[in-house]
Amino acid sequence: MLDIQNIEVRYTGVILVLKGVSLKVPDEKIVTLLGANGAGKSTTLKAVSGLLSTELGRVTDGTIYFEGEPIENGDPQDIVKKGIIQVIEGRAIFEHLTAEENLMTGAYLRHDGQAVKRDLAKVYAFFPKLKTLRNKTSGYLSGGEQQMLVIGRALMSEPKIMLIDEASMGLAPLLVDEIFRIIKAVYDEEKTSILLVEQNAVAALDIAHYGYIMENGRIVLDGPSETLKDNEDIKEFYLGLSEVGSKKSYKDIKHYKRRKRWLG
């Protein structure tokens, strides 16, 4: 469905951020993209959704195919129209609009009034809490509610693929569980493909089918979630487990650090 082939992204024409990234999101699959801060995860998503242009970035090499069509450097609204929606990180709500108005902006490009109403009901079914808050100014909702709101807004655009950027950012662990449970429920019901960018590797690998690890603008490792979960390096650096598989205690930390075994 989504096929990113060896893309290179530069900001303002000089700052090279992605140095040849390739990844695939097959139909009806959840794929996760893991990595530390500044690895280029969000840039990858923005390259797909066309939002790079607002930050003076461009795909300078490589191609992004969506259903066989090249879409790199396209207009964001055309890309949304094709069925690709990005959930921007950090709870990108319109603060002064009410919850329901926020949801309706998701359906901005749609003209099928009846279907929009049906989808609104569907979103409220996924997020019952939002229904009770529909007429509240969204800026005053809690962090978890705002995150639900942006995911709900993305659903309102009838996406074929959702690019979700750090849904767990700044949320309490219980809320993270709930958000991921809902993402999984949305996937189970709608069978939309999902590209999940995360720092919370445990939660992401739990629901994803396939994973990519990104470092410094490159993909350094990829594989099915099960394989990744068993990889020693992943366990050490992303899952916070030591070699024996038990939670690490700071008491036992040695004086040397484990080195990563890949070339970044």
Partner: protein
Amino acid sequence: MVFFLQLTVTGILTGSIYALIALGIVIIYKATRVFNFAQGEVLIISGLATTTFISFFGIAIGLISGLIVSFFLGLIIERLTLRPLIGQPILATIMMTLGLSWALRGVGSIGWQSTIRQFPEIVSHSQIMIGEVGISRIHLIAFLVSMTVFVLFAIFFKKTKLGLGMRATAENHQFAQSTGINVKGVFAMTWAISCFVACIAAILLGCIGGGISPTVSMIGLKAFPAVIVGGLESAPGAVIGGLAIGLLESWAGGLIHPSLMEVTPYFVLLLVLFIRPYGLFGLVRIERV
């Protein structure tokens, strides 16, 4: 007392025109974060164009074509001057609208010379007496027209899809783009609508003053305090700001000293900025604790 009432009525009626000009500025600011210093000049150009159309096609068609042309004037201004500045520092856009105001002034004096263009007497200038307070009919109609425009805009912003898109764009351009809103299209539409509103204000001013001349653009300066008092992002604020400035001007001029009329709005401007920097009705930044 009658004198005071008379001042009040006059203040409110002239204030409604300021409010209309302020609304034009607010519409643009809300969606694009650009403060349009050229609003007064847009008003003049669209007013002068309307007088020309009226002299060619008669009143009805003249007015309509004036409104349509100013709508397109807005699209052209946005495309030529502001579109290339998307993403540039705020100072650049400020300088651009300032430059635009002088350019439009130039266009006005080249195209129409600096003479007053007569406006036909569409409504009679006779007065209606309520008790002992006289209200000129044309002022009253101007007031009603501007209030209707405000109500229509309130409904437009609240109920239509384009209105929703504009409000979303006003909050955050990137977020709006991510939901598929055509942000550039919204920018163009806001300029078009704002110039349309400016043309309505120009027509009303022309009817009240009997004509329109390039010097009327000074009225744009009166709208700035109205905008700031009301709050840059608030359309209802523009109404109240405009009316407040009209009232204060009228009271200060009538009760204290006529020369105060011109400066009062700016005193108020300073005072409001001092107490509430975001204006009386501006959006307070939402911060959750």
